[in-house]
Structure formats: structure tokens, C-alpha cells
Symmetry: D2
Subunit: 118 residues, 4 copies
């Protein structure tokens, strides 16, 4: 079992031991994920591009960013587990799509939205 599968197992156990499974519906977990991403966004909202690029040099900010990212990962892994989705497979499939949609020669240096794959 991979490292994500192990984390999913620990989160499943965490919920089971506390009898919290009834909270962990797909709809609720999607909302929890959105809430945690909102907290992560808030860590960056008043930083200039330069300050944001150096955020990990400030131990206190780095600690908060790491904690918010940890929350995001945990809800995302839990959501995928409840839905029966393999996170890595889903990510790799989308990356493969993007590799096909965005021809390097054509999009080099400048992003613009490519038409969807047929």
C-alpha cells in the first residue's frame, strides 16, 4: 500500500474511533476542504508576490502554512477515500490530459486556455 493509502487508513480509523463517520459525507467533506483552502488562501492574501515567495523563511508563517496544508491534505485524502477515488490515478490522468492539451512548442512561456481534448 502506498503512502496515501496508509494516510487514508489512519484517517478512516480516526473517524471510526470517534464515531464521526456520519459527519464525513461527500458533501460535508467537500465543504470542509473548501473551508481549509480558504484558511490557506488567507495566509497569503496580504503578502506581495515577493513576500509570498519567501513565506517559508519566516518560522511562524511557515508553521501556519504547513499546518493549513496539512489540513487540506487530510480532508482531500478523506474525501477521496469516502468516494472510492484513487487520488494519484486521478491526478496522473489529468496531468496526462494537460500534457496533450498544452503542446510545449505552442504554449512556451505563455499560458492561455487550450481547447478541451476531444
Amino acid at each position: 500500500m502506498g503512502e496515501i493509502g496508509e494516510l487514508a487508513g489512519r484517517l478512516r480509523e480516526f473517524a471510526a474511533v470517534r464515531e464521526w463517520e456520519h459527519y464525513h459525507t461527500p458533501k460535508n467533506l467537500v465543504m470542509a476542504l473548501a473551508g481549509e483552502v480558504g484558511e490557506l488562501v488567507a495566509e497569503f492574501q496580504w503578502l506581495t508576490a515577493e513576500e509570498a515567495a519567501a513565506v517559508m523563511d519566516d518560522p511562524e508563517a511557515a508553521r501556519r502554512v504547513r499546518a493549513e496544508i496539512g489540513d487540506v491534505v487530510n480532508y482531500l485524502v478523506r474525501l477521496a477515500d469516502v468516494l472510492g477515488i484513487d487520488l494519484l490515478e486521478a491526478a496522473e490522468a489529468k496531468l496526462a490530459d494537460s500534457e496533450r492539451r498544452y503542446d510545449p512548442a505552442r504554449y512556451r512561456g505563455t499560458y492561455r486556455k487550450a481547447p478541451p481534448l476531444e
Copy 2:
């Protein structure tokens, strides 16, 4: 190297080949993550709790949810890579905190926010 490290490497390469690194600042990637989570939320917004729980039984909805989750994973892994954060370590540290904060005997069956750890 673990499975997330491999995905991070592929995403790094994807950006490098297209000379898109200048887009992938922490601030921009946090926003991209928020945008993708918004699309994932939108997949669930009009579903009842029951419909949301069965969303993966509908092949077309399942395909969309899987694709949105793939996008979320990719931006999250890319963001963590740019920040130099180990996603799994961050997640496990937060889970360990929650295991300490939420004593099973005390919180069994009912969630309420625990005081922060000292």
C-alpha cells in the same frame, strides 16, 4: 522516492518544459488551488445528501468529480513542491494533533471544536 515525490517531479518537469515556472508562484498556486476546489464544490452544490453519497454511481458525474479531484491534487502537490513542504509530513503532524485534541471518550459521536493544543 514516494508516489507524491514522483508526481511532484512530473509536475515540475511539466512546468519547466513549457517555461511556466514564473506563473507558479506560491500566491498564484494557492489561487489556482482555490479555483479548482470551487469547481469541485460546484459538482456537489445542488445534490441532496443522498444524491451526493451516490455520486460515483453516475458515470458522467463520477468522471467529472474524478477530474476535479485530479486538478486539486496537482495544484496542491505543485504548491507544496514550490514551498518546499512535505505534504505527508504536514498531514501526519496535523492528524497527530487532532488525535491528541479529540479524546475519543469525550467526543464520541458528536463533534464540537476542541480548544487548541498548548
Copy 3:
């Protein structure tokens, strides 16, 4: 001047007096809006549909929801002011589009995404 224009003026003054205009760039305000919406979502994430429908009956939850909605309004009004967008005009234009896209006879009782207007 309408009630939104008055609020926009008070927010402009609030920022000016504190010399915070340099924080209030469109990019930063969009992020602040996303962060506040994340906090609002978090108020509802563990509630059942029934509990969410009755949230305003609980004085403490009602106070929090009202406060989060107030934050969302303030950042939205400030963002529109900085961008020079008339919030009400923008909202009414989109509502008029939806009135045309969603023919009542055809969509009665059941939502599904209509094709975009030509």
C-alpha cells in the same frame, strides 16, 4: 447614492485612514473574499440539511453566520469599488441572462445546466 455606494465609501475611507490602500489590490481582495467565504462555508460543513436550515434559531451560530456574511459583503463591495464595477448592475445583468437561459416551462422543478446564451 444607493446603500451599496455608501458602504463602498465607508470602506474606502476605512482603508485610506489606515493607509492600507496598498493591500487592497484586486488580487489581494479576491483572495480575502475567498478566505472569508471559506469561513462561512465552515459554519455549515458539519450541519445536516435540517440543522443548516435552522441555523438562525441558535443565537450563537446566528451571530457567527451574520459576522461571516458581513465580512464577505465588505470584501466584495471593496473589490468591486477598486475594480470600478457596479455590483448591482453586474448582478442584474447576470440575473437577466439566467431568466433568458432557463425557460420556466422547460426547467420547472429540476435544474440542469442550460447551454450558454449566444
Copy 4:
């Protein structure tokens, strides 16, 4: 009745005519709001601070930003209507709090989080 009250009335009618009230629960509307804010964030995610500040000079981008903001306003007004919250009152109450929390002499030029009001 103010301008927001009128918009709330039109949105109420829009839902009633299509018999969509059952979709417009607080939980669903909060999610719809988060989804629309995600689309608004996406309009800004790859722009530099300078490009974002000039976004309204590009007619096509301006049209998209205006449309996304219109969607955000409509879901926010509809949510507040369903919850029985006066948007302006909520916003003004929070602004008054911030005026008290952030003493101009102390916070001039530099934001940092003030302690909550007692």
C-alpha cells in the same frame, strides 16, 4: 425598500417561478457561493499584481470579471434572503467592529491581526 431588497425579491421570484426553492437551502447556497468565488479567483490566478490591477482595461477580461462578480452577488443576496439576514446591517456591524479594533494611529501603513474585541 432598498436596492438589495429589490434584487432579493427578483431572485426569490426567479426561484419560485421555476420551482427551484428546494435547491436553495442554506447549505447548497453557501456551496454555490463558494463555487462562484472560485471562478472569480480563477480569473486572477495567473495575472501578475500589475496585470490584475489593469484587468478592467481588457474588455474581454472585464466582461468575465463582471459576470463572475454578478454571480457572486446573486448567490450572496439569495443566501442572506433565505437565512433572513440583512446584508447591509451585517456588513456595517462588522465594519464598525474593525473601526474599533484597528486604531488608525497604531495600524497606520501596516496591517497585522488585531486581538478580537472583548
